[in-house]
Symmetry: C2
Subunit: 109 residues, 2 copies
């Protein structure tokens, strides 16, 4: 199970292009640069609550994108399959089995 910061960093990595400029700024500061809500609030002269609400909204949007497109989930599936492939290569599994795994890799889309 990933912690919240890692999860949202990952989601942000995949879906950043779908966010608006202002949404990106807040995510960048809070999740990537690790600013506190208070620091962001002070920097933009808005309330801590306003910063909190905006970040919550972006988090919701990121979760909605993932539940629609599942890019992070598919990426994790591909990573697992590649690990499996490497292991099979090293143990000298026959080519047809490796080719089947490669085909499965393409089906994750």
């Amino acid at each position: 199970m990933l912690d919240k910061t890692t999860t949202f960093n990952l989601l942000y990595d995949f879906y950043r292009p779908l966010l608006k400029e202002s949404q990106r700024t807040f995510m960048e500061l809070y999740y990537v640069e690790d600013w506190s809500l208070g620091e962001i609030a002070e920097h933009y002269s808005i309330s801590r609550q306003a910063v909190h609400d905006r970040i919550k909204r972006v988090e919701k949007a990121l979760i909605a994108f993932e539940s629609a497109l599942r890019l992070v989930e598919k990426f994790e599936q591909r990573k697992k399959l590649v690990r499996e492939l490497k292991q099979k290569l090293r143990t000298g599994t026959d080519i047809s089995q490796i080719e089947q795994l490669l085909d499965r890799l393409l089906e994750i889309d």
Copy 2:
């Protein structure tokens, strides 16, 4: 170079979850079921021009999604890399080279 129908079918495949229900219905009929603009217009009792405009708007949205996320482009890159991998497997390339290609496959994300 893919023709227009194939291109939009492919884009629709990847980005359908991001479209609204009504946008999906029109894309489904026009691109997947191959209805004409006139047939869709008649079925929904709206003008041919209105159908045309709606489909154009969805096409624009699909192009915008692809230019943001490049899912179709990445899928094509992965397909090409898997073809390359299969060829190398058959010609007995050494494992370290194949592993490098597998790592490149994961970097396409």
